[in-house]
């Protein structure tokens, strides 16, 4: 495809450093790559690998003054972008280069209508012959927003996640740029929507002949999009080439590690079913319903919204139940209801024969000891002002009769070791840890009281793939050693495949399919389950190449 010998964009010897607590840290070192006209280059890497920083340099949107370009050149055609004065540099953005981002809700300005924001690009680069208004509607139509005449006056919060990303794309494509940088454009979206967006990008590329620089951590996305790929690790490029070739013969150990996630995700081997599946169930949930009352208090009619609709399941001791669903499916509400963070409208949840939804006082307290929760957001779920020791000991302090205070410190150290961290970390603050490490801390906290059941609400969703795998491995390990049960809530089917014994698929507050994991993956009966499965699948050519290379 790329026959033009001169690249559209050439990055050479890029070095970027950042100011941090520990002085200046180099975030990107000697990074270089070319993008040809009309081609799609994928930068694969995990968070902190420097992939987004590189894109920021190209777009001149690096965080300043913390970030600084120390060396290197970025050439667009014949122009050295880094040498341009700011005004001239800015004139290129939006016109020749454009960018879309991971989280369109926060990357769209909440205060302006989407039509205004799209037209803004056109107004900034006032081009004769283009009527901003008409062009806006045209663009919205093209990216598949229904009723664009009306909806151009809507604000970002009034759209769904997928539609917002479409709006982003419309905005980026307003002036038919030569290069579109897409920074994790589908990561925050539900899997089914992900695929639609990727398809849209491909179509548009075919129409306009633009180049795409796609930044992702997700192999399946890379596999769908890439002509060529580079793999980044700790600020350096460790691998460059056509993606099929990389998949077939990875040269860097890290690439191999990355690729090895594929078979693991697809394997049907789990952490070994626990033998204690007999006897009375640990938790028996029957016909849970939860209504939310929307609209203002006081005046007016309160509208009821059903978040849970007759949900029921049985959890045996020592087993793992995966709850899968997209946003709005009610899966998080289920977790919050079971944790007694919210009330229910009707239904029962029997734990050890008692309805936990009616527990009060000391009985509730005993229940809280035995059931713990791990939250999705490893950054939000730890109080930023507390040292790790205090965080881990908080449950002990809340239930002071379990362990005498002088043993807390040892217990905390023991727990940290259990989740693979060092006891020396006890006096640190949460911000000194990475996302994966924080999630381990959250798990250590959940383990402090020797619970019988841990509810994980999207506990690995915010983590990089390789970290995801590590955390799941840790959970599986804990389950083996401690005989724990888990309710594992996620939007990502493949993640639970290796871990869950049974799976519950939820949609719109109701269970659409439930069953044994192997059966469900092998023979999904509900169309929604099938959709979910196919959307997140890795293309066959890639799995084969990977399997071949590893074998």
């Amino acid at each position: 495809m790329a026959s033009d010998p001169t690249p559209l964009l050439r990055v050479e010897g890029l070095r970027v450093s950042f100011t941090s607590d520990d002085g200046r840290v180099t975030a990107v070192e000697d990074v270089g790559f070319d993008i040809m006209r009309g081609e799609t280059l994928v930068i694969l890497g995990e968070s902190g690998s420097g992939k987004s920083v590189s894109a920021s340099v190209i777009m001149d949107i690096l965080d300043r003054p913390a970030g600084r370009v120390e060396a290197g050149r970025v050439r667009l055609g014949d122009t050295d972008l880094l040498a341009l004065p700011r005004a001239k540099r800015r004139a290129i953005n939006g016109a020749r280069l454009a960018m879309i981002f991971q989280d369109p809700l926060s990357y769209l300005n909440p205060a302006y209508s989407i039509g205004w924001q799209i037209a803004e690009t056109l107004r900034i680069h006032a081009t004769p012959g283009i009527n901003p208004k008409a062009r806006t509607v045209e663009l919205l139509t093209r990216v598949g927003i229904p009723d664009p005449e009306q909806r151009q006056h809507w604000f970002p919060h009034q759209f769904s996640g997928g539609q917002r990303q479409r709006v982003m794309i419309a905005m980026a494509l307003a002036l038919s740029p030569e290069l579109l940088i897409a920074d994790e454009p589908t990561t925050a979206l539900d899997v089914t929507v992900q695929r639609q967006i990727l398809d849209l990008l491909k179509e548009l590329q075919a129409e306009t002949g633009m180049s795409i620089l796609m930044i992702t951590h997700d192999l399946s996305v890379a596999a769908r999009m890439a002509d060529r790929a580079i793999v980044m690790r700790r600020g350096r490029v460790v691998e460059t080439g056509r993606l099929d070739r990389i998949a077939a013969s990875p040269s860097h150990p890290y690439t191999r590690e990355l690729l090895s996630a594929i078979p693991r995700l697809e394997s049907d081997k789990r952490g070994g079913k626990s033998p204690t599946t007999d006897g009375p169930p640990l938790l028996e949930v029957r016909d849970l319903c939860k209504d939310y009352h929307v609209a203002g208090r006081g005046f007016g009619s309160a509208r009821a919204m059903r978040a849970l609709n007759g949900v029921g399941f049985t959890l045996m001791p020592g087993t793992v139940l995966g709850v899968v669903g997209e946003s709005g499916s009610g899966k998080s509400t289920l977790a919050r209801v079971l944790m007694r963070l919210e009330s229910v409208t009707s239904g029962q949840a029997l734990y050890g024969g008692q309805d936990i939804l009616k527990l009060q006082g000391s009985a509730l307290n005993r229940f809280r000891r035995e059931v713990q929760m791990v939250f999705q957001d490893p950054f939000g779920s730890l109080n930023p002002t507390m040292e790790i020791e205090r965080i881990i000991c908080e449950p002990l302090a809340l239930h002071p009769d379990i362990l005498p205070r002088r043993q807390w410190r040892d217990r905390a150290a023991e727990l940290l070791e259990m989740v693979g961290l060092e006891p020396a970390h006890l006096s640190r603050l949460p911000h000194q840890f990475s996302g994966g490490q924080r999630q381990r801390i959250a798990i250590a906290r959940a383990l402090a009281l020797n619970p019988r059941l841990i509810i994980c609400d999207e506990a690995v969703s915010a983590l990089d793939v390789s970290i995801q795998a590590q955390v799941i491995e840790l959970l599986a390990d804990l389950r083996r050693k401690l005989g724990l049960s888990f309710i594992f809530i996620t939007h990502d089917l493949p993640v639970v495949r290796s871990f869950a014994d049974d799976i519950l698929v939820m949609k719109g507050g109701a269970v659409v399919e439930a069953g044994d994991t192997d059966t469900l993956f092998a023979n999904p009966s509900h169309p929604y389950t099938r959709d979910l499965l196919s959307a997140s699948a890795i293309p066959e050519w890639m799995s084969q190449a990977v399997r071949a290379s590893i074998a």
């Binding site: 800015r90 953005n93 939006g94 960018m99 989280d103 926060s106 302006y112 604000f155 982003m168 905005m171």
Partner: protein, 303 residues
């Protein structure tokens, strides 16, 4: 909907306020000492109390007050011997004008300076603005006012000392009155702008090719307005109660001076009338602020 609810609740607090003012202000002493000559006899005081209804039980007085209020009679000023509400309504527009202009200038100044300060934290603008706002917060306004009069009017002779009139007459009062609001607002703007400038949509704007000016004043500023409006609303409310020092020093007959004098004179009808007027103004202001939230942030509008 929320607005109605809010207005209703504010009306309740208005009522509570009036009751409190009525009863508590009568606890501050017998006005006859202030209105009768120092050699007045006890009989003369009794006659005075009777003529003004102060001899009645407080509750009876309050009922009479409310009854009269419903017929549009807000009481008569002891000092000026004319309807108290006239006195309040004469003074209020002046306060409103002065406060309005001052606040508008302070907000505009704070938006520009605060944005520039946030654009380069610890830069020259930031440090200057920080120092100014601190000085504004800690310098007593009567001191600033008189010092400015001495410098600009007496020593330099370029501005009138006081009084109401053309633009020149506005400069000193607006500076003195605006110093503290500016200092407060500039910090709020700075804080909000630092957050806004590091928010993702600013990157989007830059990626679109927007100039830094556009990024600051079109994208970030609009989103920094909510806290600014909140604080500006609070400031406006306190200015509604009058800018006593500025009003008295510069001879602007605003409601603050009227209220203070009425309090010191135990002129109860005027105290009640002025507080009623300012409280209603604050009520309206709060509603306007709520509406502004909606205008500035479409997400609030939807809720």
């Amino acid at each position: 909907m929320a607005i109605f609810r809010r207005s209703f609740l504010t009306l309740v607090s208005l009522l509570v306020l009036l009751i409190l003012v009525f009863f508590l202000s009568r606890l501050t002493g017998d006005p006859s000492y202030l209105f009768l000559p120092v050699n007045a006899t006890p009989e003369a005081r009794a006659a005075f109390a009777q003529a003004n209804g102060f001899d009645q039980p407080l509750v009876t007085q309050f009922i009479t007050y409310v009854q009269n209020m419903l017929t549009g009679d807000f009481g008569t000023s002891l000092r000026q011997q004319r309807p108290a509400i006239d006195i309040a309504l004469e003074a209020f527009p002046i306060t409103l004008k002065l406060a309005g202009v001052t606040l508008a200038i302070a907000i505009a100044g704070a938006l520009v300076m605060g944005s520039l300060a946030a654009w380069k934290p610890r830069g020259l603008v930031d440090r200057t603005v920080g120092l100014t706002s601190l000085a504004g917060a800690s310098a007593p306004d009567f001191w600033v006012a008189i010092t400015l009069v001495l410098i600009f009017s007496v020593s330099l002779g370029i501005l009138p000392t006081s009084g109401m009139g053309g633009i020149a007459y506005w400069i000193l009062p607006v500076i003195v009155l605006g110093l503290r609001p500016f200092g407060l607002l500039v910090q709020v703007v700075r804080g909000a702008m630092i957050a806004a400038l590091s928010s993702p949509y600013v990157k989007t704007a830059r990626a679109k090719g927007a100039s830094e000016t556009r990024v600051i004043f079109v994208h970030a500023l609009r989103n920094s307005m909510l806290p600014v409006i909140t604080v500006a609303g609070d400031i406006a409310a306190s200015l509604m109660n009058g800018a006593v020092i500025v009003e008295t020093i510069f001879g602007w007959p605003g409601i603050g001076g009227v209220m203070i004098n009425a309090i010191l004179q135990r002129d109860f009808a005027v105290i009640q009338a002025t507080i009623l007027v300012t409280a209603i103004a604050i009520l309206i202001l709060n509603i306007v602020v709520d509406l502004l939230y909606g205008v500035l942030d479409p997400r609030v509008r939807a809720a």
